[in-house]
């Protein structure tokens, strides 16, 4: 329904509520008020689609906020599995893996309907070669393109960077006097086992050692990885429209592509 029509209806309903109240018709007032609330909700909806995110604000933070918080900590595109683990380690958990499926589809739909209604969007990471959405990875729209593009080496650099960021967060918490939760140490230790020289024996990993070891391996991959990503990012900025820059280009036949590009 159009906004104007809804506004007229809201004014009309308000008048009726006032009159029914004056006439002392209690039952009628209740019915009219319900109608009024529904009309107001429809008005909000029409003004800004997917407004219901705001209604979840009371209680636990909505899924997209939890995901955003975890991703901001990691600083690189991550898979649902790691996002859930970070949420559990640093933000008390409560984020369920299955709630992340379909999240990007919702975000893309919302973005296409109202591109700038949000300060950030959760979006896809783009593959460096085809600029298509990378399977299973989630990124944040405010990150520069070259962070959101992933090449063949990025799976590893992403993992190592994540380990560094998690270790840094633990150190930060420790220095601020509130030590990190045991889950955070468990996560760090689990990651450290797959980084050469990051942990010895079966004890928990030491954050400073993990940072040093991960950075040592990062130094090997980073130049090649960054070169690949920046080249792809430049290509993406040049070729893709704003929505595709966030959610990826789909492989399509030449004819179908034309019609969509011009649309």
């Amino acid at each position: 329904m159009k906004l104007e029509v809804l506004e007229e209806r809201i004014i009309h309903l308000r008048q009726q509520v006032r009159r029914a109240m004056a006439a002392g018709e209690r039952a009628r007032v209740r019915g009219l008020r319900a109608e009024l609330r529904a009309a107001e909700r429809a008005w909000e909806e029409a003004l800004e689609p997917r407004f219901e995110f705001e209604f979840e604000a009371s209680g636990p933070p909505p899924v997209r906020e939890s995901v955003h918080r975890a991703l901001s900590l990691l600083g690189v595109p991550a898979a649902a599995r790691l996002i859930v683990a970070v949420d559990e380690a640093f933000h008390g958990g409560g984020l369920l893996g299955e709630r992340l499926t379909g999240l990007l589809r919702d975000e893309e739909r919302a973005f296409r309907a109202a591109p700038h209604a949000r300060p950030y969007r959760l979006c896809a990471a783009l593959t460096a070669d085809l600029l298509s959405p990378a399977r299973g990875l989630i990124a944040v729209s405010t990150w520069p393109l070259e962070v959101r593009v992933v090449g063949p080496l990025s799976a590893r650099t992403g993992f190592l960077t994540s380990a560094v960021r998690i270790a840094e967060e633990i150190i930060r918490l420790r220095e601020s006097g509130t030590d990190a939760a045991p889950a955070a140490y468990r996560l760090l230790t689990r990651m450290a086992r797959n980084i050469p020289g990051a942990v010895e024996g079966y004890g928990p990993a030491d954050p400073a050692t993990v940072i040093a070891a991960a950075r040592a391996e990062l130094a090997v991959h980073e130049p090649a990885d960054r070169a690949r990503r920046s080249a792809a990012a430049a290509r993406a900025a040049h070729r893709l429209d704003p929505a595709e820059q966030l959610f990826g280009a789909r492989l399509r036949t030449a004819g179908a592509g034309r019609t969509r590009r011009t649309a």
């Binding site: 085809l130 063949p152 799976a155 086992r193 797959n194």
Partner: protein, 380 residues
Amino acid sequence: MSRLDALRGPEPAVDHNARTIAALAANPGCDRRAVFDAAGVDKQAIARHLGYPAPFGQSVFAITRARAFEELVKADGCAHLLRLLRELLGLTVAEVAYDDIADVGGNASHAVRHARTRALLRRAATAPPGDVAAAGTLFDHPLLRLDMGGAEVYLEPDVIAFQARGRFHVIAIKSFAVIDGQADPARVAAAARQAAVYVHALRRLFEEEGLDPARVAHDVVLVCPKDFANTPTATLVDVRQQLSVLARQLSRLTRVDRILDRLPPGLTFDLRKDADGTPTRSSADLAQAVRKVPARFAPDCLSSCDMAYFCRAEARERGSTDLLGRAARDELGGVASVPAVLALAEGTREPAADEVEIAAQLRLAHRLYAETTRAMGTVA
């Protein structure tokens, strides 16, 4: 190929996968399986209609567990896998590239994925030595193709790893545990047979691309949970023997015409399904048709072939020595039925010219057995 179509009837051919190809290679002497697979006959439907359904299919728990373990191994940019490969194959620190071919820009069609697999592997094989980034290291969800008796079969190995010494390795991720360095031999054998199919397909791809097929290692990397935890561990498994069995069996498949020549004309395994898909052919008639193709039953068929229960019942009817397992059957050298073996042993039947040797052995065994049981009888 029209002969094979006639055998199958109007139904579409059933697709092969690594499991079915491995099962075929497990019993290379079985004409029935060779013909059914070449024709793409729905063995499961036939066995069900004959009244011998195979209680196959993995439990949902096993499937969930297998998937969870595979996810764990591949999590965090294959972090576990890289550690294992560094230990096992000496992968260098620089070799970490990961290419996912589960889809190509959102297109998951077999043809597109296969073309992409081919392109990436060609690039990996022809990259200048030392250029690790260009070559790639891990290829996830690759799609290989194999020609099976004239039909193209797509196969999806778990991962292919490539490393700087120029060798490609097929990686098999399995969820059965390796406890104290030991795993269930039957499951390792099954995994090896399946992995051999991938090695074979990968070598064919290399040949088609004009590359040296020997660059595909005959050692496959088997990744399994270690002990009672979920920590992955990796072992190299030599699949040369499985490869040669497979190659022989596949070459037989292409020569399936020879078996077909021996079959009566007009033979078909068509279930004559009606519009609702209900078979209208009588099961006795179908059984008669199936019996026209000789089977070679072995007890291990029960774990890999849909037709196994029918073939076992058939072997029992004939009192066949196949029931005793391959080892015993081969020991009995050509004496086909259990009653015949017993008759030779007890001396109630005169051995034919080619049975003299085995008859002497059987009589000796019979005498030893009789003496032992008598001795035990007196002790008791």
